[in-house]
C-alpha cells in the first residue's frame, strides 16, 4: 500500500514538470553532424513524409517502413518536435497522423522501457494537446522485419519512379486483379522484359501503397510468386 502511495506521489510530481516546446506544427528536426556520427544513422526519401527523412536507429527506419505500408496512416514525421523537459532536451521519434483517429506521438525504446520521469510528463503534456503518446518496443518492430524490409524495397521503387505517370496502367492492373481474383507478380511483371512492363510494375506498387491492393509480405521477401489481390 505504501509503495502505491509513493508511486502516485512521484507521478504527481512528474506531472508538474515544465515542458517547453511547440507541438502545433510537426517538422523534422535535423540533427547536428556530431550527433549524426554518434548514432546508428539512416537517411532516405520516403513517400508519406516526402522529404529526406532521418532515423537514429534501424528500428526507427523499419517502423517508418511499416507506417508506409499501413493504409490508415495519412502521413508521419520523424523527429517532429524539440521539447525541453525541465533541463533535458527531448525529440520524440515519430508523429503519426491516421485516418479518423487522434494524432499519435511514438517513442521507440529497447523493451519498451522509458524513464518514468520523462514518460509521465510527456503523456500528460501531449494529452493536453489532444495527442496520444505511446512507447513501443524495438523488439516488436524487429519481429516484423521481413514485412518492413519488403516495404523499404517497394518505397525505393516508388521514390525512384515518382515522376512517372501511371494512371492508365493502374486502371489496367486493377481490372486484371479484379477479373482474375488476384495475380502473382510474375503475371504482371515480365522477367524477360522488365523495361517493357516497368510502368505496370510501378502501377501495381502504387495501388499496394494506396491500400487498394493487398499482398502477403510479412513472411517472405517480395518475389515473382507473391500474390496480389484487390483489397
Amino acid at each position: 500500500m505504501s509503495i502505491h502511495k509513493e508511486a502516485s506521489f512521484n507521478m504527481f510530481a512528474a506531472q508538474q514538470v515544465k515542458i517547453k516546446g511547440d507541438v502545433m506544427e510537426p517538422t523534422q528536426h535535423v540533427i547536428t553532424r556530431n550527433f549524426k556520427t554518434a548514432t546508428d544513422f539512416y537517411t532516405r526519401h520516403m513517400l508519406k513524409h516526402p522529404f529526406l527523412s532521418e532515423f537514429h536507429s534501424y528500428s526507427e527506419l523499419l517502423y517508418a517502413a511499416l507506417l508506409e505500408g499501413d493504409p490508415t496512416v495519412i502521413s508521419y514525421v520523424p523527429q517532429p518536435f524539440h521539447l525541453q523537459i525541465g533541463k533535458r532536451h527531448y525529440k520524440p521519434d515519430v508523429y503519426v497522423l491516421r485516418e479518423k483517429q487522434r494524432r499519435q506521438v511514438i517513442e521507440l525504446k529497447p523493451r519498451g522501457e522509458m524513464d518514468e520521469t520523462l514518460r509521465v510528463p510527456l503523456f500528460h503534456y501531449f494529452k493536453k494537446h489532444r495527442i496520444d503518446f505511446e512507447v513501443l518496443s524495438n523488439e516488436a518492430v524487429m519481429e516484423r522485419r521481413t514485412e518492413a524490409e519488403n516495404w523499404l524495397e517497394i518505397i525505393q521503387i516508388l521514390v525512384e519512379a515518382r515522376h512517372l505517370t501511371t494512371t492508365k496502367e493502374e486502371q489496367q492492373v486493377w481490372e486484371r486483379l479484379f477479373k482474375n481474383q488476384g495475380c502473382t507478380l510474375r503475371e504482371i511483371v515480365d522477367s524477360g522484359n522488365r523495361e517493357g512492363t516497368y510502368s505496370l510494375e510501378v502501377a501495381l506498387f502504387r495501388l499496394l501503397h494506396q491500400g487498394h491492393v493487398v499482398a502477403e509480405l510479412s513472411e517472405k521477401s517480395l518475389d515473382y510468386d507473391t500474390v496480389f489481390q484487390c483489397a
Binding site: 549524426k36 544513422f41 537517411t43 532516405r44 526519401h45 536507429s57 521481413t146 525512384e160 521477401s221
Partner: protein, 625 residues
C-alpha cells in the same frame, strides 16, 4: 561437508563411466608426471570397472590407502563444488584453493607467511571493500579517482590497516616490506577482474536488439562502400624539358563498392590522394552504375581472366544501390552523396555506429584480398604497420619504385574483376558474379529502366542562385558560384524580370556552367572570370586554390598555373608529386593523356608541353584560351 569418492559415485552414477570423464592429453602434462598420471588413470579406470581395491593395489604395488587417496582426489569434493575428475589424477596439480588455517604470524610467533595475505583480506574488516573503493573509480575513469600504481596502492593498503586498528605486531608488519609484493600481485589480479567486469557491463548496456537471422538474400539489396589507403608506393614519369624524370608519389587510395548478399565487387575508383573527398566517392558511384568495359592494358604480361567483369557489364542489369552502408566519415554524409543515393536512386544511406567496422566486414575483406594479392607482394610496400617486416627496405626507399601509377590501376582492375569469379563455399560453391546473375534472372530484383538511369549523373548538380546586376556601375549581370562571379550574354535576357535563376554544373568542370530560368528556358553558358579559364578544373580544386589565394600563396591573376608551378617546384616531395598527378589529370580534362605521366610517353603528350605554354607565359594568364 566433504563428499567421499564412494558417495560421489552414488550421487552421480554417470561418473562410473570413465569414458565420460574430461580428456586431458598426455602431452599437456609435465613430462616428469606423465608416468604417474597414466598409472593413476589405469587405477581409476579399473576401480570404476568393478575391480577390487585390494587387487588393484597389488597390481600397482601400492597400499589400499593410497588407492583411496587417488580416488578421493579425483572424485571427492565439497558439497557445493564439482569433483576435479581427470585433473585430479595429475600428480602435484592444485585442485583445492589453498586457505590459511593457522593464525597469522606475529613478532613473537613466526608461523610462515603462506596464504597470509588472502587470510588478511578475509579477516581485516573493510579491507577488501576499501581496496575495491580505490580501484573501481580508477577503472571507471572518474574525475576524482586516484591514479593507481603498485606503490600508491600499497600506501592505501597500509592506510586501511591503520584505520582498522590492525595490531602492529601481526602480519604484514612482521615482513620487511609490509607485504608489498603480495599487494602488487593482488593489484594486477584484481584489476584484470574489474576491467573484465566493466567491459561486460558496458557490453550489456550497449547491446542492441538481437537481430533475427537475415532471411532475405537478394542482389542489389545492400551495398558496402569504403576507402582504403594502398600500402604501396608507386611512381609517375614526368617529362620536363625533354628529360624523363621518375618521381615517387605518395600513397594513393582505392574506393570499392560491394554488393553484400552476393559479395560481388560493383566497381572501384583509384583516388590520386590519401584523403579522398566527396568527388572521389561520386566517381566511384558513377563507375558502378556505368556499364563496365575492360581497360586497354598496357603493362606487359597483364590480362583479364576469362569471364571476369563487374556486374554492370552484365546485359540488362542496371546497377542501383539499396541500403548503402558506409562508415561515418564526413565525405559519406556529403549532400551530393545523399542526393544521388537517396533522392535519385531512392535508396538508404546507413552511416552506422562509430568504431564498428565489423558491421562492414565484407568490404574490409576485399581490402585484405587486395593487400594479399597485390600491394603486399611488391617490394615498394609500406606494410600494414611501421614495423612490418614486409616494409620497403631503406636502400630501395631512396629511389622511386619500379611500379607505375598506370600499372597499379590496371592491376586493381584485374584483381577486383577476378574476385568476382572466384567460387566461394558460403555462396554454395557459386561465384559472386554468377550468383548476381542468378538473382537477377530468377528472383524479383529491383530494376531501373533507362529513362530513370539516364538521370543518374552523380557529377551533375543544380542550384538556384540570385541574379545580380549593379546597374549603376555599368557592369554585366552575374551570378555568384563557387567563390567567383559567372556571367554570360544570356543573362541580359533575364535580368529585367528574373531575380532567381537555375544553374546546372558538372562538379569536375566548372569553367563554364549552364543557366536556365526557373521555367526551364535556357540562358546559355555562363563563364568564370578569365583568371579561372586557363585549365579545366573541379569544384574541389577551386575551393583549395581559393583557400591558398587567400593565404597569398598563389597569385589572384592565374591561380591555376601558379599552383601547377608550385607543385612542379616541389615535385620531389611524394605528396606534391601525387597532387601534381591529380591536378594534371583534372587540367587535361580526364583524358587518357593525363596518364602519360607514367607508362609509355611521347613528347607531344608530355607535361612539359603544358608547362612551357602555361607556366612561362604569364601574359596569357588574364586571357581566355
Amino acid at each position: 561437508m566433504r563428499i567421499s569418492w564412494r558417495q560421489q559415485l552414488l550421487l552421480n552414477p554417470h561418473l562410473c563411466d570413465f569414458d565420460q570423464w574430461p580428456l586431458i592429453a598426455l602431452d599437456q602434462v609435465p613430462k616428469k608426471d606423465q608416468k604417474d598420471f597414466l598409472r593413476n588413470k589405469k587405477i581409476v579406470a579399473k576401480v570404476l570397472a568393478g575391480h577390487q581395491l585390494t587387487q588393484v593395489a597389488k597390481e600397482h604395488n601400492l597400499s589400499e590407502g593410497r588407492i583411496t587417496q587417488i580416488l578421493d582426489r579425483a572424485l571427492g569434493s565439497e558439497e557445493d563444488a564439482p569433483p576435479a575428475l581427470t585433473a585430479g589424477l595429475i600428480p602435484g596439480r592444485i585442485i583445492v584453493k589453498k586457505q590459511r588455517k593457522q593464525p597469522l604470524p606475529t613478532l613473537t610467533e613466526e608461523l610462515g607467511a603462506g596464504c597470509a595475505f588472502s587470510a588478511l583480506l578475509r579477516d581485516v574488516p573493510g579491507l577488501l571493500k576499501g581496496l575495491d573503493d580505490v580501484l573501481v573509480p580508477y577503472i571507471a575513469e572518474k574525475n576524482y579517482a586516484q591514479n593507481i600504481s603498485p606503490q600508491s596502492f600499497h600506501s592505501e593498503f597500509k592506510r586501511l590497516l591503520k584505520e582498522a586498528h590492525w595490531p602492529t605486531d601481526t602480519y604484514p608488519y612482521t615482513t620487511e616490506n609490509t607485504a608489498y609484493e603480495s599487494v602488487r600481485r593482488y593489484l594486477h589480479e584484481r584489476m584484470k577482474i574489474l576491467v573484465k567486469e566493466k567491459d561486460q557491463t558496458k557490453r550489456n548496456q550497449t547491446s542492441r536488439v538481437p537481430r533475427p537471422l537475415k532471411k532475405t538474400f537478394r542482389a542489389k539489396r545492400a551495398v558496402q562502400i569504403d576507402e582504403h589507403k594502398l600500402d604501396l608506393g608507386s611512381r609517375i614519369n614526368l617529362v620536363l624539358n625533354d628529360e624523363l624524370i621518375p618521381l615517387r608519389i605518395g600513397m594513393i587510395s582505392v574506393l570499392v563498392a560491394m554488393d553484400v548478399d552476393t559479395t560481388a565487387t560493383l566497381g572501384f575508383w583509384l583516388a590520386q590522394t590519401n584523403a579522398p573527398n566527396q568527388q572521389d566517392l561520386l566517381a566511384l558511384i558513377e563507375n558502378c552504375i556505368t556499364p563496365w568495359t575492360p581497360m586497354t592494358l598496357q603493362t606487359p604480361g597483364f590480362s583479364y581472366e576469362p569471364g571476369a567483369c563487374f556486374p554492370s557489364a552484365l546485359p540488362d542489369t542496371p546497377i542501383s544501390f539499396g541500403m548503402t552502408r558506409m562508415d561515418n566519415a564526413w565525405i559519406h554524409s556529403a549532400l551530393s552523396v545523399t542526393h544521388i543515393l537517396c533522392n535519385k536512386m531512392g535508396g538508404t544511406v546507413a552511416l552506422g555506429l562509430p568504431a564498428n567496422p565489423k558491421i562492414r566486414h565484407l568490404i574490409e575483406s576485399v581490402f585484405n584480398f587486395i593487400n594479399k594479392n597485390f600491394s603486399h607482394r611488391l617490394p615498394s610496400t609500406t606494410g600494414s604497420y611501421p614495423t612490418d617486416p614486409k616494409r620497403e627496405s631503406r636502400i630501395n626507399r631512396k629511389k622511386p619504385p619500379v611500379i607505375t601509377f598506370r600499372t597499379v590501376l590496371e592491376a586493381l582492375s584485374i584483381i577486383l574483376t577476378s574476385y568476382n569469379i572466384i567460387t566461394r563455399a558460403q555462396l554454395g560453391h557459386a561465384s559472386p558474379l554468377s550468383l548476381f546473375q542468378h538473382h537477377c534472372t530468377n528472383h524479383y530484383v529491383r530494376y531501373s529502366p533507362s529513362i530513370i538511369t539516364n538521370q543518374w549523373q552523380p557529377f551533375i548538380n543544380e542550384k538556384i542562385v540570385a541574379l545580380c546586376w549593379y546597374r549603376h556601375e555599368n557592369r554585366a549581370p552575374f551570378v555568384n558560384f563557387a567563390g567567383t562571379r559567372y556571367s554570360g550574354p544570356g543573362l541580359w535576357d533575364a535580368v529585367e524580370n528574373q531575380k532567381l535563376i537555375r544553374i546546372r554544373f558538372d562538379r569536375r568542370r566548372i569553367r563554364t556552367i549552364d543557366a536556365y530560368t526557373l521555367d526551364g528556358v535556357s540562358l546559355g553558358k555562363l563563364y568564370a572570370p578569365a583568371s579561372w579559364q586557363r585549365f579545366e578544373h573541379s569544384r574541389a580544386t577551386r575551393k583549395l586554390l581559393l583557400k591558398l589565394t587567400r593565404k597569398d600563396r598563389l597569385s589572384r591573376q592565374d591561380p591555376l598555373s601558379d599552383y601547377l608551378h608550385l607543385l612542379l617546384e616541389n615535385k620531389d616531395n611524394p605528396k606534391d608529386a601525387l597532387s601534381l598527378l591529380r591536378i594534371f589529370t583534372e587540367f587535361t580534362d580526364y583524358q587518357d593523356s593525363a596518364l602519360i605521366m607514367d607508362g609509355v610517353l611521347n613528347e607531344q603528350q608530355s607535361i612539359s608541353n603544358h608547362s612551357t605554354t602555361t607556366r612561362w607565359n604569364r601574359k596569357m594568364a588574364n586571357h581566355r584560351e
